[in-house]
Symmetry: C2
Subunit: 140 residues, 2 copies
DNA sequence: GTATTTATTGCGAATGCTTTGCATAAGCAA
DNA sequence: TTGCTTATGCAAAGCATTCGCAATAAATAC
């Protein structure tokens, strides 16, 4: 576990949150994390969840995902790079990793002259179990 | 102009909002649109902006972008498909379009068995005018 | 082990963005 | 023009996230 990497105080709340994120296997939002944490430490507060999520983001231990929603989802960052595909109907999240990503990044770096630090690719669609909307054409 | 495509009543507020989005050339958020609209119709309300943005999204006339922020940005959808690169320092938005995107989409469709309807690619980095953070390695 | 220091917590209140309820206004079809 | 109904403005509510502050508890020094 990466718990030793934190350069600040290792509080019980911090340890707990990291454990929960690790065990959940990704894509939980702040409130889901809070509910799980309360199950093990009923006195924990939602502010503590948010404060520690921000810390874990800065330490690069946790990634914040911005799906097409008004709140965010979190997952451990130590896993291999990957991107996300979310079902518009049931919400299932599929992870993928494409060898084209580094090429695209390099291309964009060259044409834009930006130094790129991060990519987030979010696709939406209908999973094999969900009824497709026949009037919705692929916009790609 | 696509104003005739709307299947509902063509109110002055709707026409105004669409004009502002078209003329602005993209990437404005709801409040920026509201401010510009107020300049031309001082009685317009922010609710009207949001209600019409939602309508224009449904009609596929406007795209909502989810940069790494807690609010959204809007742009006309009738332009060619493209994606975004935002400077972490000054906020400049660079648009790009990669021929690799359709390939990647096809790949993901095959391995996932999803029917993909939308892709959003958001990159972050440092633009040519902004000081780079030397400790920040490309995570790609 | 105890004291000291100071980061962190819990709580409540505040903030920022977006949606909603409702009475009034204004499109639109006849 | 009338009448039906959608859309608007306004104020209030709803969510997600952050902040202020007094109390708590890690870490460190004795
Ligand atoms: Mn993931
Ligand atoms: Mn754009
Ligand atoms: Zn599904
Ligand atoms: Zn810049």
């Amino acid at each position: 576990m990466a718990t030793e990497l934190i350069g600040q105080r290792m509080t019980s709340q911090r340890k707990l949150l990291l454990e929960i994120i690790r065990d959940a296997g990704g894509h939980l939002d702040a409130d889901e994390l809070f509910q799980k944490a309360k199950g093990r430490d009923p006195r924990i507060s939602l502010s503590t969840i948010y404060r520690n999520l921000n810390l874990l983001k800065e330490l690069d231990l946790v990634a914040e995902r911005h799906f097409v929603e008004d709140h965010h989802h979190y997952e451990l960052k130590d896993t291999a790079e990957h991107h996300h595909l979310v079902c518009r109907s049931c919400g299932e999240v599929f992870e993928f990793n494409s060898p084209l990503t580094p090429k695209m990044t390099k291309d964009v770096e060259e044409t834009s002259q930006f130094q790129i630090t991060d990519i987030e690719i979010n696709m939406q669609g209908y999973c094999p179990n969900c009824p497709r909307d026949m009037h919705q054409e692929s916009s790609i």
